[in-house]
Amino acid sequence: MAISFEAKRIAESFYTEWALPTRTQRTAKRMKSTLDEMRHFYDSMIPYLKEIVDHLSSIDLDDFTEEEKLLGDLCFMLCEVDNPVNKWKSPILNDALDPRELHVKQDFYDREIVLNMGWESFSGGRYSDPELTE
């Protein structure tokens, strides 16, 4: 099962900007995008999403080609912008903690207190990045 020519064409146009391999990168990208940029990406891809997911589901997860990995990352990026586009109408969720304040643990047993994990700051983690709050 392959994806349609149209789906491939549309997806390819977004690889460079939006097919990011880690959740941290995808969150950062979402937070720095405009609503219009996210909407353009989301609305363009949504008609082909099921087809792409079904195609990728037919392949062993260990056997993805480079292009299939990019397609997968686009799908994950769509998850990241799903709420911003449909519910918040904004790249960031106002009245909520900046998600970057949640440190990702290295494993179930990682409880080590490291720098910038909240001991110092008293802002409640509200957005202090001027680029975001303007």
Binding site: S57, A96, F108
Partner: protein, 397 residues
């Protein structure tokens, strides 16, 4: 429903005396969730559990006899930590400072240049024991060398079917978050044990109108370790639908982990009748238990969210939030559905977590002397009641 408490003093969040009592009466007497037995499967596997409120560092290790034991991570020589790294595998426990060697059963085996010590009887020296037991496959430790009650007693009235459901399956970490919040540990538990806030606080993420029966509290007044639970249901009637998105509707075709996607959960954990979703409802989302003192389980089918709040000081708490899954995604569709669930969950958590530091400031300012609880917040009242009971029992001893 009658509340145990409908008004509470805010003194308990700001008082040094209260913090000290909670340390002695609760954190040093209760079984605390430290890890999972299957994560230390082989003899020599260990992890280190730090309990800062008690200045305790505890090694939990599987012995040569396959038994799990726990010890204070304190060399009997001059008090160095026997293990620095939080997880590993060793044939013996060798203290890095001077090379004293302990067996996996805690027995001192060897002291370099032993002859330089006067009257050192190696055979009489052991690492100090910490009580350890397992429920649902989770390892709990108790700083009391002779715990006043068993772990099983503390976990009543959780169903035995749930004990087996959690214990039989293999649960792997999907993602875990941690942060130090400027708040008392209790505020972090309290925000997770009531659904009254869902309509307002989660208006931009869950985006639903929950009715009063959609987040029903159940109290267990006779329990010493589970004061109450919330059974969360997805609103699905008239104006009380969950607002879906094209993706939240799509993912239902691939999996069931995303909390509020429109799926039928009536068959959840069908192999373990009574473990989850007792009422067998299609729109069941999760069972949310306060595992006293500081832990909240949000249990779904094949997914469990575990929140733990570890007091550092009366207004600094180490918070952790772990997603454990019972299945590995078998294909991309399942991976995609899981990603949707994790992103939605993360977004919702950022709303929960935005409240706690402002609340603590308010308590510390003295502006608010009392908080009010409604019946939908009954588990908060029950949680606080159990704290008071534990302190009362401790002081009476």
């Amino acid at each position: 429903m009658n509340n145990i408490y409908d008004e509470l003093s805010t003194e308990a969040y700001v008082s040094d005396e209260q913090f000290d009592l909670e340390r002695e009466a609760i954190f040093k007497r209760y079984w605390l969730l430290a890890g999972r037995a299957e994560h230390i499967p082989n003899p020599g596997d260990f992890f280190v559990f730090e309990l800062k409120i008690a200045n305790a560092s505890i090694i939990v290790v599987r012995g040569k006899d396959d038994q799990i034991r726990a010890f204070h991570n304190v060399c009997l020589h001059r008090g160095a930590k026997v293990r620095f790294h939080r997880k590993g595998c060793d044939k013996v426990l060798r203290c890095l400072f001077h090379g004293w060697v302990y067996g996996l059963d805690g027995q001192l085996l060897d002291v370099p240049d032993q002859q330089t010590f006067k009257g050192l009887d190696i055979s009489s020296i052991r690492l100090a024991s910490v009580s350890v037991d397992v429920w649902g496959g989770f390892i709990f430790v108790n700083l009391n060398p002779e715990p006043e009650w068993t772990l099983d007693k503390q976990m009543e009235p959780l169903p035995d079917a749930l004990n087996r459901y959690l214990g039989d399956k293999s649960w792997k970490l999907g993602i875990g978050y941690k942060r130090v919040f400027h708040t008392n540990w209790k505020t972090l538990v309290e925000v997770q044990v009531e659904g009254y806030h869902a309509n307002s606080l989660h208006r931009q993420t869950v985006t639903a109108a929950f009715g009063p029966d959609d987040a029903k509290p159940t109290l267990f007044p006779d329990s010493i370790g589970v004061p109450g639970m919330i059974t969360l249901l997805r609103p699905d009637v008239d104006m009380r639908m969950v607002k879906q998105t094209p993706i939240s509707e799509l993912v239902v075709k691939y999996g069931k982990t995303a909390m509020y996607s429109p799926k039928d959960q009536s068959g959840a954990a069908a192999d373990y009748p009574g473990a989850l979703n007792k009422a067998g409802l299609g729109r069941w989302v999760f069972d949310d238990y306060n595992i006293f003192p500081n832990t909240v389980f949000l249990i779904q089918e094949d997914q469990i969210l575990i929140q733990r709040a570890w007091p550092l000081t009366k207004n600094r708490t180490l918070w952790e939030f772990d997603y454990l899954f019972a299945n590995e995604p078998k294909n991309f569709g399942e991976l995609f559905e899981r990603e949707q669930g994790l992103i939605q969950g993360r977004d919702t958590i950022t709303e929960d977590m935005t409240t706690v530091e402002g609340i603590q400031s308010a308590y510390e300012s003295g502006v608010l002397k009392k908080i009010r609880l409604g019946s939908l917040e009954a588990v908060v009242g029950a949680f606080r009641n159990l704290i008071d009971r534990a302190i009362g029992e401790y002081e009476a001893k």
